[in-house]
């Protein structure tokens, strides 16, 4: 798609991630390349051919990572290299090239050739080991081969299991690599990702600048994703809270059956909105295979309209009253002060005044149902906009929770995530000051009005702040 001139330019840093089978090479590449389509598996030999992951900006490659198969017959390769006529250190790379040329059709060395090729094409070496398992001298064969390649190199300690043999590994690897870093592809944060890139930039003088550019690009990209996430959450909030479900009816007035049916499809629609919003977030963060993971989030099991969801993500009654009151429903009464003592009795009186305890806690009378257009002869039953005071916080809490999990999720992760209830409390993430700003928008949406531009701006700002707090 882009001009081929630029793509052909071969002058960018390349890195080959190599190592023993099953030590997390693909996991590391997957997490660095933000690509969750990489196959990662228990079975050694999951990766069979090398695969390049270029970081492209407008089609121009800034650097490229290569995922490679693990060493399978390292001893044979090394013995072939050692059997050649001795050469000076600067010619050793040529011997490796000779090995590749001599064994291109040899089935036994498919894996070795796949992994050596990018290195001999100028890629830096990133040697991955699992430091949760003890060091063994058999690794020396692989490291010896890599030394023959004569390319800049570093080692990454990945901790797959519970044990820790980091010190042992460090002293062994120190003989072969100038730089040894610890990086856990599953748990790595964005910061750690950037720090690793920074280490990679030091492998070769000429690479420092392009990798710095790459770091800047990735940081900008991260910011963009955060903005897009917040925009997406806000637009779903507006869409959902102002949504009115309509249906033509035949009779003079709606039957309870019709009403129930409509309420049901109203809820279904809102649940669908939430699902779409979640998918949108997943695509913003490049987690495209997530729908393949069944019950990725236990969120799926806690229905949007369930009591459970309300108790996890909603506000407590007292918080709700404070919010409702300070946002103008009972303006200027100093409810915050009154509730300072936490009097439940007072709380319920005010609760009644704000809109009925039922409207805050339950979902039974959460939406207005109206019959419209009786005079023209066309009768229409409408449900919405959402009247429940707590609902916006439940929805918002769920979206923030889901988005933060997705945003933090490593692209190397292939498992489910458990919902840890203790960790997430809407009340704590969005304090009562923030809620004042949010409530302005919620109030106008409840009334069916379009929120003011500046209110929406403030809304976004608050959301961004709380979202950043979750990352």
């Amino acid at each position: 798609m882009y001009s081929s001139k630029e793509s052909l330019n071969n002058d960018y840093p390349k890195f080959a991630v190599v190592g023993h089978p099953n030590k997390g090479k693909s996991s590391i590449v997957s997490s660095l390349a933000l690509d969750d389509s990489v196959q990662i598996g228990d079975t050694p030999g999951t990766t069979q051919v090398k695969r390049g992951f270029p970081l492209k900006v407008d089609g121009k490659i800034i650097y490229e990572l290569f995922d490679t198969p693990g060493f399978q017959r390292a001893r044979r390769v090394l013995s072939w290299l050692n059997d050649q006529e001795p050469v000076s250190a600067d010619k050793k790379g040529d011997v490796v090239r000779a090995f590749i040329a001599a064994h291109r059709d040899d089935e036994r060395f498919i894996d070795e050739i796949e992994l050596l090729e990018p290195i001999m094409n100028g890629a830096g070496i990133i040697y991955v080991v699992d430091a949760s398992k003890p060091y063994g001298s058999e690794y020396e064969t692989e490291m010896e081969i890599l030394r023959w390649c004569g390319q800049p190199s570093m080692a990454i300690l990945n901790l797959i299991g519970e044990e820790n043999y980091t010190e042992q590994w460090k002293s062994a690897l120190g003989h072969y690599f100038r730089m040894v870093r610890t990086f856990n592809p599953i748990k790595a944060t964005f910061r750690e990702h950037i720090e690793l890139l920074d280490s990679m930039s030091q492998l070769k003088e000429e690479w420092t600048k392009p990798i710095k550019v790459a770091i800047k690009v990735l940081e900008d990209l991260q910011q963009q994703k955060i903005e897009q996430t917040v925009d997406s959450i806000v637009s779903n909030m507006v869409k959902t809270l102002s949504y009115i479900h309509r249906q033509k009816i035949v009779g003079e007035s709606a039957t309870t059956d019709e009403e129930e049916k409509l309420k049901h499809s109203y809820r279904e629609k809102i649940i669908k909105f939430e699902k779409e919003q979640e998918q949108n977030i997943e695509s913003i963060w490049n987690h495209r295979s997530i729908e393949k993971v069944e019950n990725m989030l236990v969120l799926d099991n806690v229905g949007l309209f369930s009591k459970e969801s309300a108790s996890i993500f909603g506000l407590s009654q007292q918080q709700l009253i404070i919010t409702g009151a300070s946002a103008g429903a009972m303006g200027g009464l100093g409810i915050d002060l009154l509730l300072g003592g936490g009097s439940l009795f007072l709380g319920s009186i005010i609760g009644g005044a704000v809109g009925g305890v039922g409207a805050m806690m339950g979902f039974d009378n959460l939406y207005e149902v109206k019959v419209l257009g009786q005079s023209i002869g066309k009768r229409e039953l409408t449900v919405g906009p959402m009247q429940n005071l707590n609902f916006p916080y439940i929805l918002l809490g769920r979206s923030l929770y889901h988005s933060s999990v997705i945003a933090k999720r490593s692209h190397a992760m292939r498992d489910n995530i458990d919902l840890e209830q203790e960790e997430f409390l809407t009340e704590q993430i969005i304090d009562s000051d923030m809620r004042k700003t949010l409530e302005k928008v919620h109030v106008s949406l409840r009334k069916g009005d379009e929120p003011k531009e500046e209110d929406l701006k403030a809304y976004k700002k608050v959301l961004k702040e709380s979202f950043l707090g979750l990352l």
């Binding site: 390349a33 270029p54 900006v57 390292a74 398992k133 063994g136 299991g161």
Partner: protein
């Protein structure tokens, strides 16, 4: 694909609105497009128009809004023509001179100056005021009612559609600028009627009022009104003499014969009246019309940039597209489930041969001690051994062989090569591969790790080799 000027028309507004409903492009496509039109990056409107032109073919639905727009413009032309004719007829009525009663210039001034000035004032007030005031004021404009009624008849159902396409602010400017245009046409009709009558017949003008106004006072008033052209066109200001002569009340109820004789003199009024019409009803209105056109255009362009999806598009034009994924699809490895085949659930106490793959001699002795296994023939393979050393071990092995392996190190082809050599030795009756965990875990291995070994060994399809899973 040259976009010469970036003036947004209502047509491009609707086009983009409809296109965005169907197609918004991906970030990659949109950024690529922007890079190809780099010169336009400074001009978002031009860029959007170019983007629209390029993607117009993607629209699948027929342009309903455009047909509505056409109807609207036909309706507009119709009302415009109607205004012109109406102005002409009104002028004719005003100036109808039967030969008996002369035309009262004050009536004419009312239509050619006072009403236009008043309506321009109302227009301006409603333009400068916000929504509700405008809505209230617009009820006073006949045009509002004419349009409402006509709209209702011409496309009953579609009025709603049209209404939702434009913002209130834009609708206000649309309405106001049309209002100015129609008023302008009305005044042109009026002027036209004046000229036609002046050319085609004698016409006598007079003035009369119940108010007590002196000739001199009236002259001053008229001179004041005629101030804008008084200097350049003095003949288009009535003289005191003319005013005196045409003061109607002096003549009484009957027509003065002298006055009829002086009809042509009295007719000199027409220049003045024509100038009043030209200046107040036409020139000023024209200015106001230009102003509303300008306001309308500004609003249209503002709304154009605020169409749903436009901001996203502009952002995508301006943000570099970053991709990190591999362009190469991966052929995913089929993973076979392991079974219980070739799995042994017990370990013997004595073996003829003990071999440790990637184990040192000492390590093997430690395992033997911990597991209570013994043998007189212990050797190490793999690791830093040479192939010749490994081959020797494979050749010398006999009877039951137990092969220690590190459970966490998945079987490599190097290992399989050795195993095959061992299998080729006919003295070997049985090989038991024993995956051992780390010393730290008392050699206990992970189920997951053993499963990997099982799958690999099962793949060899040999009845001689087993995996120990205890």
């Amino acid at each position: 694909m040259q976009i010469k000027n970036s003036k947004i028309s209502i047509k491009s507004y609707l086009n983009l609105l409809e296109l965005l409903n169907e197609y918004r492009g991906t970030h990659e496509e949109n950024r690529l497009f922007a890079l190809k039109h780099e010169a336009l990056l400074q001009n978002p409107k031009k860029m959007l128009l170019a983007w629209m032109q390029k993607n117009e073919f993607r629209k699948t639905q027929t342009l309903e809004s455009l047909s509505i727009l056409q109807k609207l413009s036909i309706l507009g032309n119709f009302i415009g023509l109607f205004s012109l004719i109406f102005g002409f007829i009104a002028g004719f009525g005003l100036l109808s001179y039967s030969g008996h009663a002369p035309v009262n210039v004050i009536y004419y001034l009312l239509f050619a100056m006072f009403i236009p000035l008043l309506s321009m004032l109302v227009s301006m007030v409603s333009l400068l005021s916000s929504g509700t005031v405008f809505n209230a004021l617009s009820l006073f404009f006949p045009l509002h009612w004419i349009e409402t009624v006509l709209n209702f008849f011409s496309f009953r159902d579609k009025v709603d559609v049209v209404n939702t396409l434009f913002s209130d602010e834009l609708k206000k400017w649309m309405f106001m600028s049309r209002l100015q245009l129609f008023s302008l046409l009305f005044s042109v009709g009026l002027l036209f009627a004046l000229l036609v009558i002046v050319i085609s017949k004698d016409i006598a003008f007079s003035w009369s009022t119940t108010l007590n106004v002196s000739n001199m006072g009236f002259f001053k008033l008229l001179a004041c009104i005629g101030f804008p052209w008084g200097h350049t066109l003095p003949s288009a200001i009535p003289s005191v003499e003319l005013i005196e002569m045409s003061h109607y009340y002096r003549l009484g109820e009957n027509l003065n014969t002298q006055m009829i004789q002086n009809a042509d003199k009295l007719g000199a009024w027409w220049k003045y009246l024509a100038m009043v019409t030209l200046f107040y009803a036409i020139f000023l209105r024209f200015l106001l019309w230009l102003a509303t056109r300008y306001g309308y255009q500004e609003q249209l362009e503002k709304d154009f940039l605020e169409l749903d999806g436009v901001q996203k598009l502009l952002r995508e034009f301006n943000t570099p597209f970053v991709s990190t994924e591999s362009p190469k699809e991966e052929k995913h490895l089929e993973i076979v489930k392991e079974s219980d085949e070739q799995v042994s659930h017990a370990v013997a106490k004595v073996y003829e041969t003990i071999i440790g793959w990637n184990f040192s001699n000492d390590e093997i002795l430690l395992v033997n001690d911990a597991k209570g296994i013994s043998s007189s023939n212990i050797s190490t393979v793999g690791g830093n051994n040479s192939f010749a050393e490994d081959q020797k071990v494979a050749k010398e092995a006999r009877a039951e062989v137990i092969l220690y392996v590190k459970s966490w190190e998945p079987p490599t082809m190097d290992f399989i090569d050795f195993l095959e050599e061992l299998l080729a030795n006919d003295n070997v009756e049985e090989i038991q591969v024993y995956p051992l965990g780390t010393v730290g875990r008392n050699y206990e291995s992970d189920e997951r790790e053993v499963a990997i070994w099982k799958r690999k060994i099962q793949g060899l399809k040999s009845k001689k080799v087993w995996v120990i899973d205890v």
